[in-house]
C-alpha cells in the first residue's frame, strides 16, 4: 500500500509519501507563501527526488477538514484532480484526528487539538491512545514455539469526542470534567493559551514545535491505519468527496437566522461581482419528529453536559404528556449534498438534466416540555452555538407555550444556571420570574439553579 498525502488545512502546506511502513518523504512548510502556489511544486519535488512513478500510488490521503475553508479546498481540489488523473481513491482523515496522531504514545493523557476557528470558537476534539492487543498476535502465535510470549503491544488512537466547532470555554469545561491531564496542540493553542491558563483546572501541556502542527506524515500514517482497520471502506471516490467544513457559510448562517441582509452589499476584491441577498427565509419551528432525534441528540451533545441520547428522545416522543420542538434550517438544495454516485452513472453537468432540488433540514435548536397536572416543566432548551443570540430560543419557547396553554398547561417552570445571564434574560423577557433556588444543583462547575415560573 503506497499513499501520497496532502495537508493544507492550516498554516502548514505538506506532502508525504508512505510506502507500507516506510515514510519515503515528508515535506512540510509553514510559511506565508500560499498553499495554492506551493502544493503541486512540492508534490513534484518529492516525485522527482524519490523517483516516484505516480501510477504506483494506491490512494491519496488528505485532511478532509475542518480548517481554513480555502486551505481545505485547495487540498481537496488537488486531491480530486489527482485522483481523477490517476484513477485512484482518496482517504480523507479528519483534521483534528490527524493532529492528535502526532502525539502517539501519550497514553493516559487526553490529546486536545485546537484550531482557531475565529468568532471565539475552536475546531477541536478529544483523543487518547489506548493499549490494544498485539496486532500481530496471529503471527506471534505461530511463532510461539520459538518465543514463549510476546511483549509487543500497540497503541490505537481513540476518539473521546469527535471534532467539532465550539467555544474555548466549553472545551475547557469539558476537559476539566474529564479530570485527566491534557496535551494541547494546533494553531489555536498559542491563540488561547492565556485564556486556558484561567479556565483549566487540570494539569495541561503544550506540544513542542516539531509535533504541534499538522504534518503530512501523520495524515498519511493515520490513513494507513484506517486502511488496515477498515480495508477499502475507508476509500472515497474522488468525484464525490466533499470537505468537512463543520460550519455553514456566513451567508447561509445569516439567512437561516432570519437576518435581513438585503441592504448589505458585499463587495469582493474583484470589481463587478456584487452580492446582495434579498428576501431571507427564516428558520422554522415545528414539533419534533422521529427523523429529528439523531440530529437533536447530536445538537444537545454540543450544548449540554448531560445530553439526551437519540434513544431517549425517541422514547420521549411517544409520551402523551410531553411535547418537543425543533428549530430547523432548510438547506435550499439537496444537490449541495453530494450523493455517492454509482461509477459510470454521473449526473449531467447541466441544470436541465438534474432533478428538482430537494430540501435538507438541519436541526439547530431543540426544546421540550412535560405536562405534570396543570404545570409544564420545560426539560430542554438547546440552540446550536452558531445560531445563538438570534431569537431562536424565544421563538421555540413561544411556540411551546402557545401550544401548551391550548393543552391545558396553566403555568410553566424551568431551571437555569444562576450564572447563565443570557438565558435568564431570555426567560425573563418571555415573562418567567425567579421563585426559588436549588443550591449547588449543577456540577461542572458547581452552581445554583434558579427555579423560574411563568404563571
Amino acid at each position: 500500500m503506497k499513499l501520497l498525502s496532502i495537508e493544507t488545512s492550516g498554516q502548514v502546506c505538506g506532502v508525504a509519501l508512505l510506502d507500507g511502513d516506510t515514510l519515503t518523504a515528508d515535506y512540510n512548510v509553514q510559511y506565508k507563501k500560499t498553499h495554492s502556489q506551493s502544493l503541486v511544486p512540492m508534490l513534484d519535488e518529492i516525485r522527482s527526488m524519490c523517483g516516484l512513478e505516480l501510477s504506483s500510488i494506491d490512494a491519496i490521503a488528505l485532511t478532509g477538514g475542518p480548517g481554513s475553508f480555502t486551505g481545505i479546498r485547495i487540498g481537496a481540489a488537488t486531491a480530486k484532480g489527482l485522483g481523477l488523473a490517476l484513477a485512484k481513491p482518496l482517504i480523507p482523515v479528519p483534521t483534528a484526528d490527524s493532529l492528535a496522531y502526532n502525539l502517539y504514545g501519550t497514553e493516559n493523557r487526553v490529546i486536545c487539538p485546537l484550531m482557531d476557528a475565529r468568532r471565539s470558537q475552536v475546531y477541536t476534539g478529544f483523543y487518547e491512545f489506548v493499549r490494544t492487543e498485539n496486532p500481530r498476535e496471529e503471527t506471534a502465535r505461530e511463532e510461539a514455539s520459538q518465543e514463549e510470549t510476546s511483549r509487543e503491544a500497540a497503541l490505537l488512537l481513540r476518539v473521546l469526542r469527535p471534532q467539532c466547532a465550539v467555544s474555548v470555554e466549553e472545551t475547557a469545561a469539558a476537559l476539566n470534567a474529564l479530570g485527566r491531564e491534557v496535551i494541547f496542540l494546533g494553531d489555536g493553542a498559542p491563540v488561547y493559551r492565556e485564556r486556558l491558563r484561567e479556565l483549566m483546572t487540570v494539569p495541561h501541556f503544550y506540544a513542542p514545535p516539531h509535533l504541534a502542527r499538522q504534518r503530512a506524515a501523520s495524515t498519511a500514517a493515520l490513513a494507513m491505519q484506517f486502511y488496515r482497520e477498515q480495508g477499502e471502506t475507508c476509500f472515497v471516490d474522488p468525484d464525490s468527496f466533499r470537505p468537512e467544513y463543520l460550519r455553514l457559510s456566513q451567508a447561509e448562517r445569516e439567512r437561516a437566522a432570519g437576518i435581513d441582509t438585503s441592504q448589505v452589499v458585499r463587495r469582493q476584491k474583484t470589481p463587478g461581482i456584487t452580492v446582495c441577498p434579498v428576501s431571507v427565509r427564516p428558520i422554522s419551528v415545528r414539533p419534533m419528529e422521529e427523523r429529528d432525534v439523531v440530529q437533536a441528540a447530536a445538537l444537545e451533545s454540543l450544548c449540554s453536559a448531560e445530553p439526551w441520547s437519540a434513544e431517549e428522545y425517541r422514547a420521549s416522543l411517544g409520551l402523551s404528556y410531553a411535547s418537543y420542538y425543533v428549530a430547523v434550517v432548510s438547506e435550499p438544495s439537496g444537490k449541495l449534498r453530494s450523493e455517492k454516485l454509482p461509477s459510470g452513472k454521473l449526473p449531467s453537468g447541466r441544470e436541465a438534466g438534474e432533478k428538482p432540488a430537494g430540501e435538507t433540514e438541519t436541526v439547530v435548536g431543540v426544546c421540550g416540555v412535560r405536562k405534570l397536572g396543570g404545570d409544564g416543566e420545560i426539560t430542554n432548551v438547546a440552540v446550536h452555538p452558531d445560531f445563538r443570540r438570534q431569537g431562536m430560543a424565544r421563538r421555540m419557547l413561544e411556540r411551546l407555550i402557545r401550544d401548551g396553554r391550548q393543552n391545558g398547561i396553566t403555568a410553566f417552570t424551568l431551571e437555569v444556571r444562576a450564572g447563565n445571564a443570557p438565558a435568564i434574560a431570555l426567560y425573563e423577557g418571555i415573562g418567567f420570574r425567579t421563585e426559588g433556588v436549588r443550591p449547588g444543583f449543577y456540577s461542572e462547575p458547581a452552581e445554583d439553579a434558579l427555579i423560574q415560573w411563568l404563571r
Binding site: 480555502t70 479546498r73 481540489a77 489527482l82 451567508a251 438585503s262 474583484t270 463587478g272 461581482i273 453537468g349
Partner: protein
C-alpha cells in the same frame, strides 16, 4: 497551421458561479462543453455568494471534467494540454479550477496553460465564426467586466476602454434588484424591457472626462435609484417595465456609442461582441444595426458561448499553446488579473 498535428485541449473554468469543462480541438472545434450552473442557489441570496460558490465548485469539479471527457470520447492520453482560467474572478472559486487543473497536469504529465477569463470570452467568437481572424475589435460585456478591446493578433490585446466603476452586468443586477425583478438582473431586465417604453424616462448617459472610450455605469444606476426614491416620496407607483426599458436603453446607448466611435477612429472593419451581457437582445440588435449602417461586419456568439463556459477557455488556450506559452505548477489564481498582463509567475517554469 493546417498542416500541423491536431491539438486537443481540456479546459476548465470556475471563475464565478459556473463549473465548466470542455474539450476543444485546434481552438475552434468543440467536442464537449459541460456547464454546471449554480444559479439556483445564488438566486436565494440575490447574488453570488463567494463561499457557497467555492463549495459548490469543489463538489462538482470532477463530475464536470469527467463528463466533458466522456462526451468528447477522449482519454487523458489523447490530450495535448490542460487549460484553466486563472483570473480574473472570485479568488476562492478560481482556486478550485486552478488546483484541479494543476493536479491533472501533474498526474498526467500534460502541459498546463493558465488563461485569462476575458481572453476566453473574446475567443468564443473563434468557435462561433470559423472565418473570423484577427485583427478585429471586441466589446466584452459581462457581470464582472466591460472592456473595449482591439485584438491585433491571436493573444495580442490592446484595451481601448474599460469601466471605471460598475460593470454593465453589475448595473443590471443592482437595478433589477431595486425594481424588484430579482437576480440575475440581465435576463430579467431584458424581458421586462420588451414590454416597456425605452423613452419613458431619460437617464443620463455617463461619460468619463479624460478618456474617450472608458465606461461609467454608476451614474446611470444612481439616476435610476434616485428616480425610484423620488417616485416613492411622491407616493407614485413606478412602471417597472418602463424603468427597465429606459435603463437598458441608456446602457445600450453608451456601449454602442463607444464602440462605434472607436470603430470610426481606428477604422475597424470587424466588431465582435462577447461576455454574458452579449445575450442581451437590445444590445445585440442595436449594435448589429449600427455596424450595418457603417459597413462593419458584426459578430456575436450564441448565448451558450457568451455566458461563462470552458470551450472559450479551450479556444484561447490553443492560441497560447501555439505561441509556446506554458504555465508552471506554481500557477496561482489572480482575482484582478489584467488583460494581456504577462504575469511572470503565470508563465514561468513551464512544464511540458
Amino acid at each position: 497551421m493546417s498542416e500541423q498535428k491536431d491539438i486537443t485541449i481540456l479546459a476548465i473554468e470556475s471563475s464565478c458561479d459556473e463549473t465548466a469543462a470542455s474539450v476543444v480541438v485546434n481552438g475552434r472545434t468543440v467536442l464537449s462543453n459541460e456547464i454546471s450552473s449554480q444559479i439556483d442557489i445564488h438566486t436565494l441570496y440575490g447574488g453570488v455568494v463567494p463561499e457557497i460558490a467555492s463549495r459548490r465548485h469543489t463538489e462538482r469539479i470532477n463530475q464536470v471534467i469527467r463528463r466533458a471527457m466522456e462526451e468528447a470520447d477522449r482519454s487523458f492520453a489523447q490530450l495535448d494540454a490542460i487549460a484553466v482560467t486563472c483570473g480574473p474572478g472570485l479568488v476562492g472559486a478560481l482556486l478550485i479550477g486552478v488546483s484541479a487543473a494543476k493536479a491533472l497536469a501533474f498526474g498526467t504529465g500534460l502541459p498546463l496553460i493558465g488563461v485569462h477569463h476575458i481572453e476566453g470570452h473574446i475567443s468564443a467568437n473563434f468557435i462561433a465564426f470559423p472565418e473570423l481572424e484577427p485583427p478585429f475589435a471586441c466589446l466584452v460585456v459581462s457581470g464582472g467586466h466591460t472592456h473595449l478591446v482591439r485584438v491585433s493578433d491571436y493573444g495580442e490585446y490592446e484595451i481601448l476602454g474599460r469601466t471605471r466603476d460598475d460593470a454593465a452586468g453589475e448595473a443590471f443586477d443592482k437595478v433589477a434588484r431595486a425594481i424588484g425583478l430579482g437576480y440575475p438582473g440581465g435576463p430579467k431586465i431584458d424581458q421586462a424591457a420588451k414590454l416597456g417604453n425605452p423613452e419613458a424616462i431619460h437617464f443620463p448617459r455617463g461619460r468619463v472626462a479624460d478618456s474617450a472610450y472608458d465606461f461609467t455605469f454608476s451614474g446611470i444606476k444612481s439616476a435610476v435609484l434616485n428616480y425610484l426614491n423620488q417616485m416613492d416620496v411622491k407616493g407614485e407607483a413606478i412602471r417597472v417595465n418602463d424603468v427597465a426599458a429606459s435603463f437598458q436603453q441608456a446602457v445600450v446607448d453608451v456601449l454602442v456609442g463607444h464602440a462605434m466611435e472607436a470603430a470610426e477612429q481606428y477604422g475597424f472593419r470587424r466588431l465582435a461582441l462577447a461576455g454574458g451581457v452579449a445575450s442581451n437582445s437590445a444590445l445585440r440588435r442595436q449594435l448589429r444595426a449600427a455596424c450595418g449602417e457603417c459597413g462593419i461586419d458584426f459578430f456575436c456568439p450564441p448565448p451558450v458561448l457568451c455566458t461563462d463556459n470552458a470551450a472559450m477557455i479551450g479556444s484561447a488556450a490553443y492560441y497560447e499553446y501555439r505561441r509556446g506559452v506554458r504555465s508552471g505548477y506554481d500557477l496561482n489564481a489572480v482575482p484582478n488579473l489584467q488583460l494581456g498582463e504577462r504575469v511572470s509567475a503565470l508563465r514561468r517554469g513551464g512544464v511540458e
